[in-house]
């Protein structure tokens, strides 16, 4: 009869979070020995895996090589079991291509590509389970993987989504909240400088409301940064113990 109440009068969301709160984030770096860099992240029930190869020589046609910087190649795919209904094609569909393109834009802005001219960096991201905010999880996983590969970056790239319900901006939308059909926004941020690497919006929202929603997403992205930073430091500590330092 009545649809889901996304935000209760008491200010709680369907899963018990308050408007600006993130879902639980867990992440690990260096999960694949074969790759140059890799990372796994869980944001709530959204799970993503990223692997990075490079920088290495251009594969395929040499004509693609850029004289002044590295080529960033991103591929996105999602596991067939990642969503409630099984998908037919795991990659190569329009949505995957689009996502790959967005990731590429994001990381071209963050990686110091001019340090590796005429070479190529491959970032492969796979979503194992999708429960909202897949773009953000991919970016966050890829950031960790790029760092794991030791590729120099301007800064972390931290991403988070945000929506707008009953005049309130909600951070880090879950699948239920995304499915309700309100406006949603995805933001990738370089937290130190506050620069925006990517901003995407897929519904109408008046400019007056854009600011609070953007603000919520940015705040959430900064919270993500705090967490990722902790993960990286922990990883470095563990690695140095292994090296017997």
């Amino acid at each position: 009869m009545a649809g889901l109440e996304l935000l209760s009068d008491q200010g709680y969301r369907v899963d018990g979070r308050r408007a600006g709160e993130l879902r639980k984030i867990q992440a690990r770096m260096g999960v694949f020995a074969q790759a140059d860099g890799s990372a796994y992240i869980e944001q709530g029930n959204t799970k993503a895996l990223a692997v990075v190869y490079g920088p290495h020589e251009i594969r395929g046609s040499r004509a693609r090589a850029l004289p002044d910087r590295a080529l960033v190649n991103c591929q996105y795919s999602s596991a067939t079991f990642s969503t409630g209904e099984r998908k037919r094609r795991p990659h190569g569909d329009r949505k995957s291509c689009e996502m790959g393109l967005q990731l590429r834009q994001t990381f071209e802005a963050a990686i110091l590509t001019q340090l590796h001219p005429r070479s190529q960096i491959d970032i492969y991201v796979q979503v194992l389970q999708a429960d909202g905010g897949t773009y953000a999880a991919c970016v966050n996983a890829a950031t960790l993987a790029v760092m794991d590969a030791g590729i120099p970056m301007r800064d972390f790239v931290c991403a988070c989504s945000a929506g707008f319900v009953d005049g309130t901006a909600l951070a880090d939308l879950s699948h239920v909240e995304e499915a309700a059909g309100g406006p949603q926004l995805a933001l990738a941020l370089l937290p130190a400088s506050g620069q925006i690497a990517l901003l995407e919006m897929d519904a109408r929202l008046h400019e007056d409301h854009l600011e609070p929603v953007l603000e919520a997403a940015a705040r959430a992205a900064r919270d993500v940064h705090t967490l990722l930073d902790r993960v990286v430091r922990q990883h470095v500590r563990e690695a140095s113990v292994l090296l017997g330092d």
């Binding site: 209760s8 639980k24 879950s174 519904a203």
Partner: protein, 956 residues
């Protein structure tokens, strides 16, 4: 800081498709007690009092909070709303169950929670670390929720003990479920049934009557024998509907016969849309408007709709033999062709009960506490209630809610909700007609009022950001006398280039009502201001309707202006919309404005402006009529009220002046201009208003009526209708044209709001405009508020919000607005009817000239021009021999004895008030002229005090 770190994560899995949802548990949810040290004390919104001064309960003398379960909240909301009940904890579990089971109760409980004086607190127990419970193996959802509620109750008691040991604050669990209560007591939670608790409130004995009487399932009174067959469970009904064994439809009880009803089957099939049900057993406890499942009976048992009038009267309880006897009367021999698909109710899909207005029929047994209640709506069965105040309630209008209808009971059980006052009393009857027409008229809640601007209010610099300052313009308003909610004001001035600038300035209501807040939701729900004869039920709080939004003279007000540049031939050269600030120079009545226009001596700015407007309006009107706009007529009645007693002392039809039509003309123009603009900008979600052309068959009666007076009415287009109506004049019968226009009005369809993306026929037939909307009355119509918002977004003066551009939401809104407008009209008519009764009650019996509007098989419908009053003269009466009646459908005409009646014949009728039935008083009309022996009345044989002139109960 990230709070997510302290969360425990649990996942819920279920369904065929695996759904995993996160569920966070928190430890920062407060208990709601003001000043609780353990919870940090700070609570937003209403909270529980630390020292509740509750009504003295003999069961629990110490201070306590109440914690009701879902069923108590659902069924005993009338008790919970009582001011005596305060400090109640509403669990999230309970609230969610209520939300999915009953939207009206959910709304009521939210209103109560928002009322700070009630101290209701919603505890988010499902996300509290210590009160969350997981569904166990083999436990169903209901049992889990019951357990969750008990766990929360237990937690509260322990928490409060920790907080302060000495004041012995307790949480009392209220449940009507016996098993649940036993379990609670075992677990050490103080628990009572709602009845036990309410009865223990010795200081508030009146609350007992408001208790819903619910017989526990499987615990029906053993003595009563089963009268009705069982209702099948919902799962079986759904199966049956899918397989075609049962049909789903809306149950519509008959007004005339309590043993008969029809079911409108939902669905696309054109045939057999209506199923007849006859006899109490087949009606099987369904109540008007319920959604039911019916089973068709075999053809051999089909019946014809009976023409018998049968009302459920008499005092006897549960006497089924008499019912059977009465039912047999229905089954008289009938023509084979008249038989209709007949069925019986096998189950209820959804109840659509509401509180009903009506009167108590006191039990004959003197000491009895059980009485029957007769609803004002004849389609609702009588309801048995228990009350100790029967003698006080007799002769009063009261409200009763239905609680249930057990299988062994002849009548549904219910409980007393509210006493409205003496029947026949003006206030009471007004309340009744508002309730019966579902007009929301409660005072605005605290939550709604909290969104009003703070006084003293003034225009700030921020307000002026997207606004033009038009305070220098000579703007004035023209309205009926006594109007306090002034929506619109006008101006007209000559520009330097010789053209005219005309402005329509509309109250900027959307500046004050922001999307989505409680004020907005309440206005959207009300949909319209309802005008009764001497009362106005506002759509928005008075501070807005009569003050801040009302464009009164000599104060600064915010407006939304539509400004045209026109030439002297009233052709629009430029149209411009802007939010503005204005300062009206005069609030005039139609008469005052007319006087200024006609005056030869006045030449001030206001008067010049009015003359300019009037001149243009005449050209506009002429042009509009040339295009085929209809000028129809419906007699509008107005009462002159006695200023002290507020009783109607005179009744007359409204007088129309030139200035009425002047204002109207510019409002139409503004509405059309705005409609074009918003449709241009939002092709998919503009809120528009259309008026469909009536199907040709609607006009039959009008064409026939005109023909009988040797006039021709053409109805192929609106234009030809308008032209032929103009030509339809009779030199000997000047009133004929008005009568024809009244008839034409009756042929029309209802104009409706719609969303442009959901329809492709926009035409407004009556106004002969390809597009139309409502922009000019945002104080009293919610549609205009939405149109203002759309227009504001279109010109960049305000921001949009997601719901505004969602065409499905907009379509839902239109549905509600159309419903509210229809109900408002009905309520208004009912109010006029009631005041007409009051008027004739004081006036006594009068005879007046009347014209016949319609001819029926056994009656004529007449219009009395002097009062604008319409009524029916019946020719068959109980105590008189039946006259010879010959009805001819072709002309149409009705021959009574030797006198023939046609439409538009002039007659003389006697008008009097029939108050034999206190609940249904009515105006009776009888024929005086022409004289028909045995039919028309003489003054001598009239007796006002004639007892019981009831409608014939049984006609064979």
């Amino acid at each position: 800081m990230l709070k997510s770190k302290t969360f425990l994560k649990k996942t819920r899995a279920g369904g065929v498709m695996k759904i995993v949802r996160e569920h966070y548990l928190r430890d920062d949810i407060g208990c709601g007690t003001t000043g609780c040290a353990a919870c940090g004390g700070a609570h937003e919104g209403p909270a529980l009092e630390p020292q509740p001064q509750d009504p003295a309960s003999s069961l629990c003398p110490q201070p306590h909070y109440l914690l009701p379960d879902t069923n108590v909240l659902l069924h005993q909301i009338d008790v919970l709303e009582d001011p005596a009940i305060r400090n109640v904890i509403v669990l999230q579990t309970v609230l969610q169950e209520v939300r999915s089971r009953s939207a009206p109760v959910y709304k009521r409980i939210r209103d109560v929670t928002n009322n700070h004086e009630k101290h209701f607190y919603t505890f988010t127990n499902e996300h509290h670390r210590e009160t969350y419970v997981e569904q166990e193996q083999g436990e169903n959802a209901n049992d889990r929720n019951d357990r969750a509620i008990r766990v929360a109750a237990k937690w509260y008691n322990e928490h409060l003990k920790k907080m302060s040991a000495e004041n012995q604050l307790q949480v009392i669990f209220i449940t009507n479920d016996r098993k649940n209560k036993e379990k609670a007591v075992e677990e050490g939670i103080p628990a009572f049934t709602c009845e036990e608790y309410v009865k223990s409130l010795t200081a508030n004995p009146e609350l007992i009557d408001r208790l819903a009487c619910l017989s526990e399932e499987g615990n029906e009174i053993e003595s009563g024998k089963v009268i009705f067959s069982e209702h099948l469970p919902l799962s079986k009904l759904q199966q049956g509907i899918k397989s075609g064994t049962y049909l789903q439809g809306t149950f519509r009880a008959s007004r005339e016969n309590y043993l008969e009803a029809t079911v409108w089957v939902h669905g696309d099939a054109e045939e057999d849309k209506e199923i007849i049900l006859q006899g109490l057993g087949n009606l099987n406890r369904a109540i008007h408007e319920d959604i039911v499942a019916v089973e068709l009976l075999p053809r051999s048992q089909w019946v014809a709709p009976s023409s018998v009038v049968l009302h459920d009267e008499g005092q006897n309880e549960d006497n089924m033999e008499r019912e059977e006897e009465r039912e047999s009367i229905l089954k008289t021999a009938v023509n084979e062709k008249m038989l209709k698909p007949t069925g019986r109710v096998v189950g209820i899909i959804r109840r659509n009960w509401r509180p009903y207005c009506g009167m108590l029929s006191k039990s004959d047994i003197k000491e009895s506490r059980r009485h029957l209640f007769t609803p004002a709506d004849k389609r609702i069965p009588r309801i048995r209630i228990e009350t100790r105040q029967a003698s006080t309630l007799e002769g009063q209008r009261i409200i009763v809610a239905i609680d249930g209808w057990p299988r062994n009971s002849r009548y549904p059980n219910g409980h007393f909700v509210k006493n409205l006052g003496d029947a026949g009393d003006k206030e009471t009857e007004t309340e009744v007609l508002l309730l019966e027409h579902d007009v929301p008229h409660q005072p605005f809640s605290q939550a709604v009022l909290s969104f009003l601007p703070k006084m003293p209010w003034a225009i700030t610099e921020k307000d002026m950001k997207y606004r033009e300052d038009l305070r220098h313009l000579c703007v004035c308003s023209v309205d009926p006398p006594g109007c306090t909610d002034i929506d619109d004001a006008l101006h007209c001035r000559q520009l330097e280039n010789g053209n005219l600038e005309v402005g329509v300035h509309i109250a900027d209501v959307s500046h004050f009502i922001r999307p989505g807040n409680a004020l907005d939701q309440e206005s959207a729900r009300r949909g319209t201001t309802v005008y009764l004869c001497e009362k106005r039920i506002d759509m928005v709080p008075e501070l807005l309707s009569s003050n801040l939004c009302s464009l009164r003279c000599n104060v600064d007000r915010l407006a939304f202006s539509c400004i045209w540049e026109m030439n002297h031939n009233a052709e629009i050269l430029k149209t411009r919309f802007t939010k503005s600030a204005i300062n009206s120079k005069a609030s005039l009545t139609y008469a005052e404005a007319q006087m200024r226009i006609d005056s030869t001596t006045m030449n001030d700015d206001i008067t010049t402006s009015l003359r300019g407007l009037n001149k243009l309006a005449k050209i506009l009107k002429k042009r509009r009529i040339e295009k085929g706009a209809l000028t129809l007529s419906s007699p509008e009645v107005r009462f002159h009220m006695d200023s002290e007693t507020h009783d109607p002392i005179d009744m007359q039809t409204k007088e129309l002046r030139e200035t009425n039509s002047m204002v109207e003309e510019f409002m139409l123009l503004a509405n059309i201009s705005v409609a074009k603009k918003i449709h241009e900008e939002f092709s998919e979600h503009a809120l528009l208003r259309k008026h469909p052309a009536p199907p040709p068959s609607n006009y039959e009666i009008l064409v026939k009526a005109a023909k009988s007076k040797n006039l021709e009415i053409k109805t192929d287009t609106a234009k030809s209708l308008a032209d032929s109506l103009d030509k339809a004049e009779s030199p000997t019968f000047p009133y004929l044209n008005t009568l024809l226009r009244i008839l034409a009005t009756r042929c029309m369809m209802q104009a409706v709001y719609f969303c442009s993306g959901m329809d492709n026929d926009f035409h407004h037939y009556g106004l002969a405009s390809p597009i139309y909307t409502h922009f000019t009355s945002p104080i009293r119509r919610y549609a205009d508020v939405i149109v203002h918002r759309l227009l504001a977004v279109a010109i960049g003066a305000d921001s949009t919000y997601p719901e505004l551009t969602d065409k499905h939401k907009l379509a839902d809104l239109c549905k509600n607005l159309n419903f509210r407008h229809k109900m408002a009209q009905y309520a208004q008519r009912a109010s006029v009817a009631f005041h007409t009764q009051l008027f004739f009650k004081s006036k006594g019996i009068v005879s007046e000239e009347a014209y016949i509007l319609f001819v029926r098989k056994n009656a004529i419908v007449v219009l009395i021009p002097k009062y604008g009053l319409e009524g029916t003269v019946f020719f068959e009466e109980k105590d008189r021999p039946k006259p010879r009646l010959v009805y001819d459908d072709e002309i149409p005409s009705l021959k009574i004895e030797d006198t023939v009646f046609h439409i538009f014949d002039k007659v003389k009728v006697r008008i009097m008030l029939d108050s034999s039935n206190l609940q249904h008083q009515k105006i009776r009309m009888s024929l005086v002229e022409p004289q028909i022996p045995g039919i028309s009345t003489d003054i001598s044989d009239m007796d006002i005090n004639e007892p019981e002139r009831k409608k014939k109960k049984l006609q064979k």
